[in-house]
Symmetry: C2
Subunit: 288 residues, 2 copies
Amino acid sequence: MSLHIGFTGSPLDRVEPARHDPQALAALAANPAALLLDMPDYLPAAADGALAWQPFTPLPPEETLLLGLIDGIPRFARIDPAAVAAKRWPELMTLLDSLAPGEAGIYAAARSLLDWHARHRFCANCGRKTAPHHAGWARLCPDCGTEHYPRTDPVVIMLADHEGRVLVGRQPGFAAGRYSALAGFVEVGESIEEAVARELREEAGVVATSVRYVASQPWPFPSQLMIACIATVDDGTLTLDLAELEDAKWVDRAQVEAALRGDEDAVFGAPPRYAIANTLFRAWLAGK
Amino acid sequence: MSLHIGFTGSPLDRVEPARHDPQALAALAANPAALLLDMPDYLPAAADGALAWQPFTPLPPEETLLLGLIDGIPRFARIDPAAVAAKRWPELMTLLDSLAPGEAGIYAAARSLLDWHARHRFCANCGRKTAPHHAGWARLCPDCGTEHYPRTDPVVIMLADHEGRVLVGRQPGFAAGRYSALAGFVEVGESIEEAVARELREEAGVVATSVRYVASQPWPFPSQLMIACIATVDDGTLTLDLAELEDAKWVDRAQVEAALRGDEDAVFGAPPRYAIANTLFRAWLAGK
């Protein structure tokens, strides 16, 4: 199957061994062709659907993030311990609308890593200040020696299917008219399928009789792995958790098609193309 | 499909709203029928394939972990800030061999949470000491106000299939003769499918032409979400990363069947039944 999945198809070769090899890392940093993804406020420059790269000058180790290679050319970003997550959502959404999925995938890796450094400067084990390690892919505590790795939080996002209609919901913070697939974090001690069933039960009061996996994507706000599924439901009676969902409703094929087309009279506004919820609607329409 | 998947099928009703509702939590803790899963060295007592529960006496908030309800009865564990991960692997493996998957799922949730508390006593954002929060499902920093949630690290585990044979590998620490599916952490900025392809390329030098999802399980050592996939490979030539794999080889159906049966002359020792690698071999044999 060939689905458009936002943030996937990154051309980065992550050259993982170079993260642990100071000589290899130094050689990549000294390469005169090396490039920097400059991320002021986590907003890189872009043109024609692609990220814009700057010339790279070697940085101190505690600021060096090796993203990897593209076309054989080393790619870096700068770790800024004073960074704070950008609030510039309108500009960011415009950027994401413009980027090809693979370019957005490069951005996702860089943003999640830089933001993780900014929010994890201290050792969770002993409280001491830690420092970037492994070319920016870890942090090391100089006191207790604990190595810390970036978080990637798995999230299930699912369409419940009841007799050919699917369940869409809106959270209080959504843009006017926007509805999407329901979603929630996978907790410890449960599988993907169990998390899907739990979220549908908790948020909408419906019981999944089967769950099938559809696709996945990284999501860098701040650092999730989105796991998209379709669940079958035998009884469509809704009991909403109003703390989580402002509203939810069953929509049919024609209503989903109208929403994806962006029709003015669509009964809901669909999520953007770079979100896997959009992919999930298309997969459901295609019978996948 | 009906596969045996270790650690799944937990009967816990997580009653998530009670985590945020001090009155509801107090009522559950005061229920005279409430039970405690006592976990000295993370090794709970068990009999006849089921965990053994003890009478519960209300604990101070900073030691209270609400696991949820089973059969309507509140279930708790005790957060011990001085806990250290048990090294008693032989006893633990014997326990896991004996537990039904759903019972092991309860254990998985409890162990991952208790171990997370023990290893995350300080605020990663500011370094101050944090305290358990939300009935043990979070920690709160009294200084900067950051809420911290338990980690669940997604890991892909995969069988590469080349012309009807699958790739098994062994890490240096494995028991003698043991081989399993290859595995690795999903990194930021990649999908499940991309992580599978990257791990196969990095560890074995093979190129996946397609990846399909099979099943998932929680894995509490310390806290992974195992995501099992089967990948198709057109060229079976291996180039091993000897830092990750001591050996790897292609095995055919008869060899996998012999390994799963535990035949004395099997060409490899299969992973235990509670590991999803075991499920993955069975799914591959069944053509799933």
